[in-house]
Every structure is written in C-alpha cells, then in structure tokens.
C-alpha cells in the first residue's frame, strides 16, 4: 500500500466511526449525542426508554447497515470481475428476482388463503425471510447448474438476466390476480428495510455475512487472474469452473441473505465497487477488497441516516435513498475521472 492509499484508508476508518456514532444517535426520538456516547462506552444513562431504543432498535439497525453495505459491495465486486462487466451487480444472476418471487408467492398467494403476513408480527417477518431465501435459492440452483454446463462467463450473465426477466414476469402475473392490500404489502417489502432485524435474526445474519466475507477474501488471487480473462487465467493454473462456482456461491450467500432479511436493496452493489476503484485507482483485489467493505459500510450508514429523517415520525424507503444519493456520487466521480471507462477496457 502506498502513502496515498494509506491516507484515504485512514480517512475512511475515521468517517466510518463518525457515521456510526451519528447513525446511532439520530432517529425519530431525540436522544442527546453525549448520552448516546455515554451509553456506548457502557455507562448508565438513567433513561430506560432511550436505552431500549438504542439496544432494540438503533444498534441492530446500524450493524445491519454496515453488513448490508459491505456485503452488497463485495458481491458487486465479485460479479463485476467475474463477468468483466461494469454493469454487473449482486443481482445479475437473478438472486433478487428469485427472492422477490418467493416473497411474492408468500404474500400474494398467502393472502388469498386469508393470511395477512404483516399482521403476524415477528412470525410474519420470518415467513418473508424464509420465502425470500427459498426463492433466491431456487433460482440460483438453476443458474449454478447451468454454469457447470457452459464454458464462458458471458453466456452465464445473459442467462442470469433472462432468469431475472422471467421471474419478474411471474411476479407481475401474481400481482395482476391479487388484491390491492396484498400488492401493497409486497411493494413495501420491495422498498427494503434495515430496521426490521431483531437480535435473534442478527445471530444468523452477522456470522453468515462475516464468514462469507472472510471466505471471499481468499479469492483475491484468482480474481486478479480473472482480470486477464478466462484464457489467461486457465493458462496460469486457475480452474475456471471451480472458481466461477465458488464466486457464485459466495455472492449468493451475501446477496441472498441480505435480500432475505432486508429486501432487495438496489444500487449499492453496483455503485460501491466503482466508487472504490475510482477513489483508489487500482484493479488489485487485495487492495479493493477491504476498501469496498469500508466504502459500502460508510455509504449505507449515510443513506440510513438520511432515510430515517432525524426528528421526523416516518422513514423513507431505504431502496430509494441509496439510489437518489448514490447516483450523483457515481456520476460526479465518472465525470471528474474521464478515464473511468478504461478500468473496464484494455
């Protein structure tokens, strides 16, 4: 790591800590910043209500934001390198479409059996999580089976896109035959949410994301080789099919788990790898990897602060906020660094 990279890295760490504190201290209920700090270093703040809000709601949400940002950023990076395509993201293989299909079936058909999932409370959120995981897993299994059959990665990208369109169409058909309130329940799920996770759910969410991120870091070497394309990689001893398979599995674990718990969160996965590449001007995955994790966490915390509209009663859909805030950042970086497109061409 050279000096410039180190400087940016240090600023990222400081920014992350600041945003984390800010994220926890801000919300619809006003809690003084110094009280939040006091609470975080383990001291009593003498206000049960505030303590409950912090423990039960704000801290889990901040942790979720960090994991979602990092996880989606890394899945985007994995997909962009695997497909050597700047438009690839965590969901190009149809993971979110699969999850949407699962949830759509659960909500839209469940309601016709007289089950109102949003009225089931905690149990309802588990049903959504399970059906999203199941849908994502189903679509993904098909994609993985296909990936074992075909030789080149580009065909796989197209097949993934086709699956996405097909499942999207099935969801449309389901919506067409559904009642207005079921459609609304489904729409709310598609807005995404960081706030819904309980500590029980975090007990699954945290280790899955952490372990998968650690596992994915061990691909850095193969990912660097993949930058040169399938032929060169093979000639350097990379087993393409095996590498492709583990990249797909890791991406699915990250993006699938996140979608299951938080809904389909768009944009972050595509944008974060670009932002990181532009900031650090490198293609080396050993450097990109930690940077993507940090940038992803930072952007997600920031978006969440905006989404919860400090001082207001309501929160904006996180899915909209990420795109509204993220898009100008990417546009600004691309315009400022005119050689952006070159990081994807020879």
């Amino acid at each position: 790591m050279n000096k410039q990279v180190l400087t940016i890295f240090t600023s990222l760490v400081i920014l992350l800590i600041l945003l984390l504190l800010l994220n926890i201290s801000l919300g619809s209920v006003y809690i003084p910043f110094h009280k939040t700090l006091t609470f975080l270093i383990g001291k009593d703040i003498g206000h049960i209500g505030w303590e409950n809000i912090l423990i039960q709601f704000r801290i889990p949400k901040a942790i979720t934001a960090i994991l979602v940002g990092s996880g989606l950023g890394i899945s985007g990076l994995l997909m962009q390198t695997l497909f050597r395509n700047p438009l690839a993201g965590p969901f190009v293989l149809g993971i979110s479409s699969g999850a949407s299909l699962g949830v759509a079936i659960a909500i839209l058909t469940g309601m016709s059996f007289g089950l109102a999932i949003n009225q089931l409370g905690i149990g309802g959120s588990w049903i959504l999580t399970v059906s999203a995981s199941f849908g994502a897993f189903l679509v993904l299994s098909v994609v993985i089976l296909v990936s074992l059959k075909i030789r080149d990665s580009m065909s796989l990208l197209i097949i993934g896109l086709m699956f996405g369109s097909a499942t999207g169409a099935i969801v449309s058909v389901l919506q067409f035959f559904s009642k207005a309130e079921s459609i609304q329940a489904y729409l709310i799920w598609t807005f995404g949410s960081l706030g819904g996770l309980t500590w029980e759910e975090l007990k699954i969410f945290i280790p899955v994301i952490f372990l998968t991120l650690g596992w994915a870091y061990t691909f850095s070497k193969s990912l660097n080789a993949l930058l040169l394309g399938d032929n060169y990689s093979r000639s350097m001893g990379v087993n393409i099919k095996k590498t492709r398979l583990i990249i797909i599995i890791a991406t699915s674990l990250l993006a699938g788990t996140i979608t299951a718990f938080c809904g389909p969160i768009a944009f972050i996965g595509i944008a974060i790898p670009h932002i990181t590449r532009l900031l650090f001007n490198t293609a080396n995955h050993k450097v990109l990897f930690p940077m993507v994790i940090f940038s992803g966490a930072i952007l997600m915390l920031f978006c969440d602060i905006i989404a919860q509209m400090p001082g207001k009663e309501y929160t904006l859909p996180i899915n909209a906020v990420t795109s509204v805030l993220g898009a100008p950042i990417v546009i600004w970086l691309v315009v400022r660094r005119k050689d952006f497109s070159k990081s994807f061409s020879g």
Binding site: L228, R234, G237, K286
Partner: protein, 339 residues
C-alpha cells in the same frame, strides 16, 4: 536427427470443436515436434486454425484425436497448475482492466507459484524484475496499461509470460497492429530469448518476411494439404513457401525472398542509368503500369546522377524532356499512355 530434446510432441493430432451434435475438425493428423530452445513460426492464412492449434497445445482446449505430449508426458495427465509452470501464453484477448499497472500485470505471471493470497516471495520478485528488464519495459513499470502504446503493451504481455517462467512460450500474433520498428524489436526480443534462455518459442504470425529471417523452423498450414514443418530456407527452395502466398496480387521473387505487389503492366519503355535511380524509377514505373524492356521502344528514359541529385531524360520520337523529379517523369509519361 534431433539434437535437442523435444518439449512438445504432436502425434496424429486433430484439433477442432466438438458440440453435442457434431465434431468439427479444423486441422487433422498433425505430427510435429517443438525442440528445446527453438523459435518456431506457425504460418497460414486467416481462419485456417492456427489459434485453435495453439489453444490445444496450451491445454486450454481439448484436442479431438491424437496426442499432445509435453516434456514426455501426455497433456491430459497434467494438472492445470503443473502445466501453467511449463507453458505461458501471449494472446490477442482484450484485457478489461485498464487501471492495472504494468508491474502488477507482470506479477500476475507468478500466479502458479505464489501462496493462497498471492504474496510474492523474494524469488518471485527477482523473476519479475528479470522479466521486466529483459523485455525492456523498466521505464514504464509504474504505468497503468491503458496508457501504453500497442508495442509497449505487447512487451508487457511477453514480460508476464516470462515471469511465469515456463520452458515454453506460445504467442498468438504478437506483432499484429504494430509498426515496423516495433514488429522487428518484438521478434528480435523473442529470438534473443530463445537463444539465451533456452526457452522454446512458438508463435502464430503473419510476418512472413521477418518470420522467415528469424525463425529456426516454420510450421506451415496449407488448405487441403499436410501440415508442413521445416527450416525456412528449405521451404523456400522447394517452393512450398510459394503455395502460402499464391495470390494474383502478389509477386514473389525466390532469388531475393522479396514480395512485391503484382501490378498489371500495360505499357513498355526502356530505362538505363545510375543503378540507385534506376531501382526507384522502376518502382514508380511499375506502380503506374509501365514495364521495362530490353527491346527497342519509342519511350526511352535515362537516369543520370549530377552531383547530389538525379535527373531523368525522357526521350520520345518527337522530343526530349528533362525531369528533376520522378513525379515529373510520371506526369510526362501519362501523356504517352493514351497513344
């Protein structure tokens, strides 16, 4: 007959493509050897299957029939990691990572040797430094690859292949898109490598003139004929080479190994004088479809050297014209073309 050990032996090899329904052979029944330290040019017209053959030899694509034997062992019995320590490639594939730096790209050549994280040992560093120095890219090692010229980029790819440190380097058209000095410098670099490092170099190329000057051996693929292997000069003298360039637009002079464009000549004239001036005057006359003949014609040109410049005296039945440039000669001749 062979003094050197063979690094690649091809036995009845057929290469091509296999789909679920049919088998499409591209090149059939190839029997040829690549020796240690040899530089071989693989020549043949576009689309005849050179790249397919190279990919099969490199183990990227399976052969259809026959055997590829690398260092005495069948290629199918190699693990992909083992093979990568013997054969390295320079391909025409585009690389979609323009912000990759030159030394990072060269370092990727150490991929087969590094640990699971790809950390470079001092030995790896030494190999990278050696590869960068011998390929003459030391001055650009910090640059991102999208800032390189085509010639520099080709050298970087060769350096990467060298860092991979196999006994065999296979290159697919390494001099395509390069200007003349760069073409020659790349070929010279490869020739020096095979001489000094004992690496065997096999490249597909369309550089017939330079290839035949520098290669130890030519592998030639001709349509509807057997795969031919031989020392360039033998292929010249037994007229095999001419089959490769049989085309109406091309003239080939076996006496000096030169190619020229086949102009369809229409008119005749006589030419004599200073040899250097005559040489270039012929060049210009041919391009304008005038041939030179020994028989008497009514257009005679005499090129004379006067101090530092040349003059041409164009004489016809009617008049004499003195020209100071070939351009003037050509323009004056146009007048007679319609006669």
């Amino acid at each position: 007959m062979d003094h050197n050990p063979c690094v690649i032996e091809l036995k009845n090899l057929t290469v091509g493509y296999r789909s679920t329904k049919k088998v499409i052979p591209v090149l059939q029944n190839i029997n040829v050897n690549l020796q240690k330290g040899e530089m071989v040019c693989l020549v043949g017209e576009n689309g005849i299957g050179k790249s397919t053959l190279l990919r099969t030899l490199a183990g990227i694509q399976p052969g259809l029939e026959g055997q590829v034997i690398i260092n005495g062992k069948n290629i199918e019995d190699f693990r992909i990691q083992e093979l990568s320590k013997i054969i390295s490639l320079v391909l025409t594939d585009r690389i979609f990572a323009g912000n990759l730096k030159v030394d990072e790209l060269v370092s990727l050549g150490r991929h087969p040797y590094t640990n699971w994280l790809g950390n470079l040992t001092p030995e790896d560093q030494d190999k990278i430094t050696w590869a960068i120095e011998i390929s003459d890219i030391k001055n650009i090692r910090e640059k991102p690859i999208n800032e390189l010229s085509d010639g520099q980029f080709q050298k970087v790819l060769i350096a990467r292949a060298l860092a991979q440190d196999g006994d065999i380097i296979i290159l697919d058209e390494p001099t395509a898109h390069l200007d003349l000095p760069n073409k020659i410098s790349i070929l010279k670099l490869l020739k020096d490598l095979s001489d000094h490092t004992g690496k065997s170099i096999l490249m597909a190329t369309h550089e017939l003139e330079f290839g035949f000057q520098m290669a130890d051996r030519i592998w030639m693929v001709l349509k509807n004929e057997k795969f031919i292997s031989g020392v360039p000069e033998d292929l010249m003298l037994n007229h095999t080479f001419e089959k490769l360039i049989q085309h109406d637009a091309v003239n080939y002079d076996l006496s000096n190994g030169r190619f020229s464009v086949n102009h369809e000549l229409k008119w005749q004239c006589n030419l004599e004088g200073d040899p250097t001036a005559v040489f270039w005057t012929i060049n210009a006359l041919h391009r304008n479809r005038w041939s030179i003949t020994q028989e008497e014609t009514n257009v005679k040109i005499k090129a004379v050297k006067i101090k530092n410049h040349f003059e041409w005296i164009l004489s016809t039945d009617k008049k004499n014209i003195t020209c100071t440039k070939i351009e003037e000669v050509i323009n004056s001749l146009k007048h007679f073309q319609h006669l």
